[in-house]
């Protein structure tokens, strides 16, 4: 089994997408799969990168696509990847299967449902076998942390279950999806911490008093 993880977050190695995808990837490696990892931010900079990306995908058995939710769907760079695949894949001798991992800052994992559906439609249009996906909310809790510790036991179990299934050529199990979507911490605590974090960042940048600025209108700021 040859698997390639594609990280669709512009934050690359520092992203939640990378943390989640790599955990799954490493479990697949433990299971005997040959795994690789690429970052869309790097690969989609030029033709050489794009060609390498297409070459890697075309010789893989499965592609794991990990990305953050952007505007209720997939980031623009991931659409660019999909467009490239749509153009290149008719020449491929075989098509890899596709599984995805979506994370968002919203507590409700369901808010990423449309992004998952878009990926399934992409798999349909690109003639790639759809293996399903995992969706995680409260991504900010994991930001800058290791998934190996902390309140992420449900997510760790989900990624292990998914990796084991994908290694056997199966789809992501329902149990894995349910576990991944479980909230790592309580919503009220998450909102309190997240909202405080934004203020702290603004303060560090010297713009706490400008948080509510409205540069594009003549309305008085709140």
């Amino acid at each position: 089994m040859k698997a390639v993880l594609l990280v669709g977050s512009p934050k690359g190695t520092k992203s939640v997408s990378d943390a989640l995808g790599t955990y799954l990837n490493e479990r697949m490696r433990t299971n005997g799969a040959e795994v690789d990892r690429m970052y869309l931010n790097e690969q989609l900079r030029d033709q050489t990168g794009e060609d390498a990306l297409m070459a890697k995908m075309s010789c893989s058995d499965i592609v794991i696509l990990a990305f953050p939710l952007y505007y209720d769907s997939i980031p623009s760079k991931v659409i660019k990847l999909m467009d490239l695949v749509a153009e290149a894949s008719p020449k491929w001798e075989r098509r890899p299967a596709l599984a995805v991992i979506v994370n968002s800052g919203f507590p409700e994992a369901e808010q990423s449902g449309t992004a998952l559906r878009i990926c399934r439609l992409f798999a349909r249009d690109a003639d790639m076998e759809w293996k399903g996906g995992l969706v995680m909310g409260m991504g900010m809790v994991l930001s800058g942390r290791s998934i190996g510790g902390g309140p992420f036991r449900h997510q760790r179990k989900a990624l292990v279950l998914a990796a084991d299934a994908l290694n056997e050529g199966k789809a992501v199990p329902d149990e894995a999806r349910s576990m991944m979507a479980k909230k790592p911490i309580m919503t009220w605590l998450y909102l309190m911490a997240a909202n405080r974090s934004w203020k702290e960042q603004a303060k560090e940048n010297g713009v706490l008093g400008k948080l509510y600025d409205r540069p594009y209108s003549a309305t008085k700021k709140k």
Binding site: S9, P10, K11, S15, P68, Y70, Y71, D72, S73, I74, P75, S76, K77, I79, K80, M82, D83, G105, F106, P107, E108, Q111, G113, T114, R117, I118, C119, L121, F122, R124, D125, T187, L191, A194, N195, W198, Q201, A202, N205, V207, K210, L211, Y212, D213, R214, P215, Y216, S217, T219
Partner: protein, 189 residues
């Protein structure tokens, strides 16, 4: 009333769909501005949240997204025009939208049981999302409509309409769909 049409079609569409949109919106009393996104220099979002905690309300990347965001915040009706791409938006349109999260505040708040970012501005806007397909495709249509509805929710837009146009069908059906959408929006003004 102002309408801003973000054209993410890159030339693809029912012949004259954009012309139909412009004409019908004009007839309904809108002053229409069209932005062809294919000709604009818009970088992909870096995900840095600089528009929230470094230069609040403005993206840190200086390109064509800034002026587009200004227009987005000063229009009454936002029209998103795109080929339906895997059930979602085209790369050009999505880039522009990704770069417009400065319209929201960073904080998260519960609205009707679901968490969203509050809007930065005190404005009421309408949204029309126009998707083009070669042929009817139930799954893609459902996904696209769901995406438009989710966007309206997160953009705090109370009145939204979705138009689906098909390359394999004539302009008349598109015209009827556009008129119905405008009626739905204008009727609620």
């Amino acid at each position: 009333m102002k309408a801003l049409l973000l054209d993410g079609s890159n030339g693809m569409g029912v012949k004259g769909t954009k012309a139909i949109l412009e004409k019908e919106l004009g007839s309904a009393g809108f002053e229409v501005t069209v932005i062809d996104l294919a000709g604009k220099e818009i970088a992909d979002c870096k995900g840095c949240f600089g528009c929230w905690v470094r230069t609040p309300g403005e993206c840190v990347i200086k390109d064509d997204a800034g002026p587009i965001n200004r227009q987005l915040m000063q229009t009454d009706l936002i029209v998103l025009y795109t080929p339906i791409t895997y059930g979602g938006y085209s790369y050009d349109l999505k880039k522009a939208l990704d770069r417009s999260i400065c319209r929201s505040l960073p904080f998260m708040k519960k609205y009707g049981g679901e968490v969203h970012h509050p809007l930065r501005y005190d404005i009421e806007q309408k949204l029309m999302v126009v998707g083009v397909l070669r042929d009817r495709d139930d799954e893609a249509q459902r996904c696209f409509t769901e995406l438009a509805e989710r966007n309206a929710l997160n953009m705090h837009i109370g009145s939204a309409a979705v138009v689906l146009a098909y390359l394999s069908e004539g302009e008349n059906l598109t015209r009827i769909a556009v008129k119905e959408a405008i009626f739905k929006l204008v009727g609620e003004l």
